[in-house]
C-alpha cells in the first residue's frame, strides 16, 4: 500500500510537472505543423527527465538532502547563486505561463478574456497551497489529472496511421520549414525537461521521508510517472496531427487549440480539452509555486514544509504568496499565453546547462551518495543530457529568431 501511495507522488509530479502548458502547447503545435514526425523529441526528453528525476530522488533518499541543499553545501554560495537566480527567473515566467494556461481554459468555457482570470486563478492556487497538506496536493492533482486521458482516447478514436507514428520515433530531417522544425523540437525538450520538476521532486522525497530502502520505488516512480505524462503528451501530438494538420490549422493562435479534441470527441471533446488544460496547468501552478518556496528556503537554510502551519514557517509561505502575485502580473501583461509559453520554453533551454551540469556532477559525490553514486548508465545519460543541453542552449536564440 505504501508503495502505491508513493507512486502517487510520481503521478502528481508527472501531471503537474510533466504535462503542463508547455508540453501541451509544444506537442500540439508539433503535431499541427509536422504530423507525427516530432514524436522522437518527446521520447528523447522523456528519457532524459526519467534519469534526472531518478537522480534527484536517489540523492534525497540516500543523503536526506534536497537538491538545492546539496548543491549549495557542495559547491558553495558563490557558485550556487548563479543557478539559483537563473531558476527563479525561469520559474517566474513558467508560473506566469501556467496561470495563463488555466486562464485560457476558463476563457474557452466562459468566453471571458483570459486576463480577467489571472488574479482569481493565482488566488485559487494560493488557497490550495495555504489550506492543503502535502498529500492533498499530491492526491487531488493526481486524481483530477486522470481527465487528461481524454487525449489518449481521442488519439485512438482518430485511427491514426500507426506506421507513420512508429516512424515518428526515429529522428528525421524536416521536409519543409527546417528552422521552425528544429525550433519546435527544442521547445518540446525545454517544456519536458523542466528544472522546477526536479527541485520539487527532491523536496517532496525529503518531505515524505524517503530512505535507502525506497530506492526501488524511486526508480519505479520515475519511470511510471514520467511515462504517464509522456504518453499523454504524445497523444496530444497525435490528436493534433490527425485533426489540425489535415484541416490546415497551424496552431499559431491559441483559440484554435480546442478544435483538436472537438473534432475527435465532439462537443464533449471541447470541454475535455478545457478541463485537461485547466487541470494540468493548475497542478503545474501549485508545483512551481511550491518549488520556488522549497528552493528559496533550502538555499537560505530556513524551516520549510508544506505541512507546517504557514505562521510557523512564515518566510516559506511569504515566498509562494509573493511569487504567485508577481506571476499573475506576468500573465496580465503578456500579449498572449501561447507566445509567453513558447518564449519561456526557449529561455529554459538557454539556462539548462547551468542548472543540469552541477546536478550531474553532484551525483558522483562520495560524501552525499556513498555507494549509491551514478553507475555507468546514469553517467552516460548524464553526459548525453549535458551535451544536448549545451548544444541546445547555444542554438536556442538563433533558432527563436529564424524559426520562432
Amino acid at each position: 500500500m505504501k508503495k502505491v501511495l508513493m507512486v502517487a507522488l510520481g503521478i502528481l509530479t508527472s501531471i503537474g510537472g510533466f504535462l503542463d502548458v508547455g508540453a501541451i502547447a509544444t506537442s500540439a503545435e508539433a503535431g499541427a505543423v509536422f504530423g507525427p514526425r516530432l514524436l522522437w523529441a518527446i521520447a528523447f526528453s522523456t528519457l532524459c527527465i526519467v534519469f534526472l528525476v531518478e537522480m534527484a530522488g536517489r540523492l534525497a533518499a540516500v543523503s536526506k538532502h534536497t537538491l538545492a541543499d546539496a548543491l549549495r553545501e557542495r559547491y558553495g554560495w558563490r557558485f550556487f547563486v548563479i543557478p539559483f537566480v537563473c531558476e527563479l527567473i525561469v520559474d517566474l515566467l513558467v508560473l506566469g505561463a501556467e496561470i495563463g494556461g488555466v486562464c485560457l481554459a476558463l476563457q474557452f468555457v466562459t468566453g471571458v478574456p483570459f486576463r480577467w482570470f489571472a488574479f482569481p486563478v493565482a488566488l485559487l492556487v494560493w488557497l490550495f497551497i495555504w489550506v492543503g497538506s502535502f498529500s492533498l496536493v499530491e492526491d487531488a492533482t493526481a486524481i483530477l489529472g486522470l481527465v487528461t486521458i481524454a487525449f489518449v482516447v481521442a488519439a485512438f478514436r482518430m485511427k491514426p496511421d500507426f506506421h507513420a507514428i512508429a516512424a515518428g520515433f526515429v529522428p528525421s530531417l524536416p521536409t519543409h520549414d527546417a528552422a521552425h522544425y528544429w525550433y519546435i523540437a527544442l521547445s518540446i525538450i525545454g517544456a519536458i525537461i523542466s528544472p522546477y520538476l526536479i527541485y520539487f521532486y527532491s523536496a517532496g522525497a525529503v518531505e515524505d521521508g524517503w530512505s535507502v530502502k525506497d530506492l526501488k520505488v524511486n526508480r519505479m516512480v520515475a519511470v511510471i510517472g514520467m511515462a504517464f505524462g509522456s504518453l499523454v503528451a504524445m497523444a496530444v501530438l497525435i490528436v493534433a496531427a490527425t485533426t489540425l494538420l489535415p484541416a490546415g490549422v497551424a496552431m499559431d493562435r491559441y483559440e484554435q487549440a480546442p478544435l483538436m479534441l472537438a473534432r475527435a470527441l465532439g462537443l464533449a471533446g471541447f470541454y475535455f480539452f478545457a478541463a485537461s488544460l485547466g487541470i494540468a496547468c493548475f497542478g503545474a501552478c501549485v508545483e512551481v509555486a511550491l518549488s520556488v518556496s522549497y528552493l528559496t528556503a533550502q538555499t537560505f537554510g530556513w524551516n520549510w514544509g508544506e505541512n507546517l502551519a504557514p505562521k510557523s514557517n512564515a518566510r516559506f509561505a511569504a515566498v509562494y504568496t509573493g511569487f504567485l502575485l508577481l506571476a499573475a502580473c506576468v500573465t496580465l501583461v503578456a500579449s498572449d499565453p501561447l507566445k509567453l509559453t513558447l518564449f519561456t520554453m526557449a529561455l529554459t533551454v538557454v539556462m539548462l546547462p547551468v542548472l543540469l551540469l552541477p546536478t550531474i556532477m553532484l551525483m558522483n559525490d562520495k560524501k552525499f551518495l556513498k555507494q549509491h553514486r551514478n553507475g555507468w548508465l546514469s553517467n552516460t545519460m548524464g553526459v548525453v543530457i549535458v551535451v544536448t543541453a549545451i548544444v541546445l542552449s547555444i542554438l536556442a536564440i538563433p533558432l527563436q529568431i529564424i524559426g520562432g
Binding site: F134, F300, P310, A317
Partner: protein, 126 residues
C-alpha cells in the same frame, strides 16, 4: 574536519532541532605566535553579498543606512558548536537570535493575520 567542505554553507541547527540558516561565513582569528583558530560562524545577507563581491556589500550597507535600518550581524561563537556531521549543530536558541527577525516580523505582520495561518497538517506516515 575540513572547514570549507564540512562547515561553510552547511545547515545550522539549533538546540531545539530548528533550522537556523546556512553557515554563510567563518571568521578566523589570527594570534601572535599561536596557530589561528576559528572565532565564530557568521550569517546574514551582508555576508552573502560580500561573498559575491565586496562592492555588493557596500551597496547593501548604503541602502540599509538610507532605509535607516540597522541589522545586527548574527555570530555563533565556535565554542557553541556542538557537532559537525550532516548539519552543524549549535547550542543556541535560534528563535531568539537575529536570524529569526524576518521570520518573526512576517509571522506577526503579514502571514499571521491571514485566516488559517495556524493550521498545520499531520500527514499519514508513508
Amino acid at each position: 574536519m575540513d572547514l570549507l567542505l564540512d562547515v561553510l554553507d552547511q545547515q545550522l541547527v539549533d538546540k531545539n532541532g530548528r533550522k537556523a540558516g546556512k553557515v554563510d561565513g567563518i571568521a578566523i582569528e589570527l594570534r601572535d605566535g599561536k596557530p589561528p583558530r576559528v572565532a565564530y560562524l557568521e550569517m546574514g545577507t551582508d555576508v552573502l553579498a560580500r561573498r559575491i563581491s565586496p562592492r555588493f556589500e557596500r551597496w547593501l550597507q548604503k541602502w540599509r543606512k538610507w532605509m535607516a535600518r540597522e541589522v545586527e550581524p548574527f555570530h555563533v561563537p565556535w565554542s557553541k558548536v556542538k557537532k559537525v556531521h550532516l548539519t552543524v549543530d549549535a547550542d543556541i536558541d535560534a528563535a531568539k537570535e537575529p536570524v529569526y527577525y524576518v521570520e518573526h516580523w512576517l509571522a506577526e505582520h503579514v502571514i499571521g493575520p491571514i485566516p488559517g495561518s495556524e493550521i498545520a497538517h499531520e500527514d499519514k506516515q508513508r
